[in-house]
């Protein structure tokens, strides 16, 4: 890693290795297949939240409709593999490409809007998508959903077994993480953050702001479609209610609670929210005997508290002690000094 990158962005290898280590270690600790399912779902949802984090945290554009792109991926995979007998991998790629273009076409007009209006427009997109998959029931199986989606197999290795699928999902998630880190740790990352702060200033510096916004919007949609296809092959069944606004809101909350400011926040947020859901439900059922959707009371409360007191998200809370630990600032100034002496300015 070049000196320059260390100066500009700080270290990324350590957190990455920590995450990889964690992922490798978990299967040996966790035995119950229920927790395993949650881990796999966290992997799938992290791919969506990583894309969303780029869009919201960096480019500053809100989207309440990413469940639609998640759905397009799931349904393209589902329909192509069931009624057209395409290979799942081909269907997955087709899904991502179609979602990318659909999001690109939608993005151009929509990203001219700002704030509440953008949120409402993306909400509208999600509802229109939901009604379309309900309506086209010859193709998508409509409300009864689409059954019999084959599970994936990699070079003959059947991925029905949880362990293989777990590693497959998390390798994909790590690749997406790497991709996002590369984008963030480059000039493009700076462009996105400057769009977030002041679009006018960015434009005067020669940046075609629309192109960047739409590109990131389409990219995050492609990520969501990838996750959708994997979700379809894992659950082997897709039905419209899973891709409704409630799922878009869940993704948004995961990003914001995790901390939209950093790509790592997306993964942290997804994990915390997924476990939070299960814990509250587990505690609710066993100890208080209350059942059903009651956990949304605690869930709603926690979201309000986090957004009020920790607007920058959990990642911010965790990264602060780490920064103090390594006295990051000192390292930067020192290495910067010898940079200058080296250049002889």
């Amino acid at each position: 890693m070049s000196k320059l990158e260390k100066v500009l962005y700080g270290n990324r290898l350590k957190p990455f290795l920590f995450l990889v280590g964690l992922i490798l270690m978990l299967p040996f600790v966790v035995k119950s297949s229920y927790i395993f399912t949650i881990l796999i779902l966290i992997g799938i949802y992290s791919i969506v939240t990583l894309g969303l984090c780029l869009l919201i945290g960096y480019a500053g554009q809100i989207s309440l409709g990413h469940a639609a792109f998640f759905g397009i991926g799931a349904y393209t995979s589902g329909v192509l593999t069931t009624s057209f007998q395409l290979s799942p991998w081909l269907a997955l790629v087709i899904g991502m490409v179609t979602t990318f273009f659909i999001a690109y076409l939608i993005g151009i007009p929509i990203l001219k809007l700002k704030g509440h209006f953008l949120a409402l427009a993306t909400l509208g997109i999600n509802i229109i998508f939901y009604i379309l998959i309900l309506g086209l029931n010859q193709l998508t199986g409509g409300a009864a959903g689409l059954i019999g989606i084959p599970s994936l197999s990699l070079f003959g290795l059947p991925l029905t077994d949880k362990l293989f699928f777990y590693f497959f999902v998390w390798t994909a998630a790590l690749l997406v993480l790497l991709l996002s880190l590369n984008i963030v740790r480059s000039h493009v990352g700076r462009v996105l953050r400057s769009i977030h702060d002041s679009e006018i200033a960015t434009e005067t510096l020669g940046v075609k702001v629309e192109n960047y916004k739409v590109a990131i919007f389409a990219l995050s949609a492609a990520f969501a479609s990838l996750a959708g296809s994997m979700y379809a092959h894992y659950i082997t069944f897709v039905a419209p209610p899973t891709f409704y606004i409630t799922k878009s809101i869940l993704f948004l909350i995961m990003v914001m609670v995790g901390g939209a400011g950093s790509v790592w926040g997306a993964i942290l947020g997804t994990t915390v929210i997924m476990f939070l859901n299960e814990i509250i439900r587990f505690v609710g059922h066993t100890y208080f005997g209350i059942s059903g959707e009651v956990e949304i009371v605690v869930y709603g409360l926690i979201i309000i508290l986090i957004m009020m007191f920790l607007p920058k998200g959990l990642m911010h809370v965790i990264s602060k002690p780490i920064q103090k630990l390594k006295q990051k600032k000192k390292v930067k100034i020192k290495s910067h000094k010898d940079m200058i002496s080296q250049k002889g300015v």
């Binding site: 229920y34 659950i235 039905a239 959707e293 809370v317």
Partner: protein
């Protein structure tokens, strides 16, 4: 002040993460044999997946209640040839993904059989996971008749269709309109009905759909009025079913309206209170126990209703009865000494044939899906109560 809140918040969130990890290993140690602590083999676990909340709770709530009732009865009855039976209930909140996660959870708990999924689409969602593990699945919703290796407790839509056709023939109606909700339950009805209607030359003159959460269906009913049918068939859960009935009456239709079995519950009766002439519902004989001719069926249904009433002081409906049939069959299999999934599978496939359930008699060996028509009939409504016709 802000600093304080920040530290409290971050502290509480760290706590949650710690709980999460502890929950992990608590889960992994086969967590909840809290009751009698001894090894797994002594307790036979039966899984149950119902929608206790969310839109489908109008059907799933009584099923979830029934789990509590039958668990109490099993505990009182003590062990069955040395084994205790424990029913683990999962509420999937009308969300198919949560149902699949719940199925995984039950599999990891080591259940020998599962009674489940209030909705047809959810049953299809959990089917591959459960039958993949060789665990028998007793479905309680009208799933498509061709689905393999499941035991259907609910009458298939073919049975419902033939009941409606019988009713239409008696009132010599030949032109009908079909209106259904656009959700998992609503869309299942028409395909089977179309098949049976074609054989009995009943013409479907209009087909309309409405969003499951819609609050006004006058437009759909006005479209139907244009085709002037002789009867209207509604396939939807409440509250949608009730709103259609109310709009139907408000628009001054005087032709009969026939509702699916999903409307055979108290909620629907309240919705169409004092405005329900000429409205018929496919209901199980459970709802009209007192008007039944005396006999073995009447006593069994009466006992079932009394037990439910004493515990929940409200009435069970036919969806509760489907779940009850599922549990009773499984308990009968366990009583006959089968304690593993394979034993139960071949017990149900070979030994038992005739079984008179709460919602009609079953013939498990025959390829007739679900109970025969003898458990159901088209019920009318008179002074806000169900009316049974011979």
């Amino acid at each position: 002040m802000k600093k304080l809140c920040k530290s409290i918040c971050s502290f509480s969130l760290m706590l949650i993460l710690v709980i999460a990890l502890s929950a992990c290993n608590m889960e992994t140690s086969g967590g909840n044999d809290k009751k009698d602590g001894d090894g797994g083999k002594e307790v036979i676990k039966i899984g149950a997946i119902f929608a206790e909340t969310g839109p489908a709770s109008t059907l799933g709530k009584t099923q979830a209640n029934y789990v509590k009732l039958i668990q109490k009865q099993l505990d009182e009855a003590g062990t069955i040839n040395g084994k205790k039976i424990e029913i683990i209930m999962q509420d999937y909140e009308t969300d198919d993904t949560k149902a699949v996660i719940a199925a995984d959870k039950l599999i990891s708990e080591g259940v020998v059989a599962v009674v489940g999924a209030t909705q047809a689409s959810t049953s299809m969602a959990i089917l591959p996971k459960i039958s993949g593990e060789g665990i028998p699945l007793m479905t309680v919703a009208p799933v498509n008749p061709e689905a393999k290796d499941i035991y259907q407790m609910a009458p298939s839509n073919l049975t419902n269709a033939s009941l409606i056709i019988k009713f239409l023939k008696e009132n010599n109606i030949s032109k009908v309109a079909w209106i259904n909700a656009r959700d998992g339950f609503g869309v299942e009805g028409l395909p089977s009905f179309e098949k049976v209607a074609k054989e009995n030359d009943i013409k479907i003159v209009a087909h309309e759909e409405f969003d499951a959460t819609a609050t006004d269906m006058t437009v759909q009913l006005t479209n139907i009025r244009k085709k002037n049918p002789e009867a209207v068939i509604v396939w939807s859960r409440t509250p949608g079913a009730g709103i259609v009935a109310r709009n139907f009456k408000a628009l001054g239709f005087d032709i009969p309206m026939i509702q699916s079995s999903a409307s055979a519950n108290k909620g629907f009766l309240d919705q169409v209170k004092d405005n329900n002439e000429n409205i018929y519902v496919i209901g199980s004989k459970l709802s009209v126990v007192d008007q039944l001719p005396n006999g073995e069926q009447k006593d069994r249904l009466k006992k079932f209703r009394e037990d439910y009433r004493t515990m929940f002081n409200s009435d069970p409906d036919n969806f509760t009865a489907h779940a009850a049939d599922g549990f009773h069959l499984l308990i009968e299999a366990i009583k006959a000494g089968n304690t593993t999934s394979e034993d139960i599978h071949n017990y149900l496939k070979t030994e038992v044939n005739k079984y008179s359930g709460l919602t009609g008699s079953f013939e498990l060996q025959s390829d007739y899906v679900g109970p025969y028509e003898d458990g159901f009939s088209v019920l009318g409504i008179e002074n806000n109560e169900w009316k049974y016709y011979e």
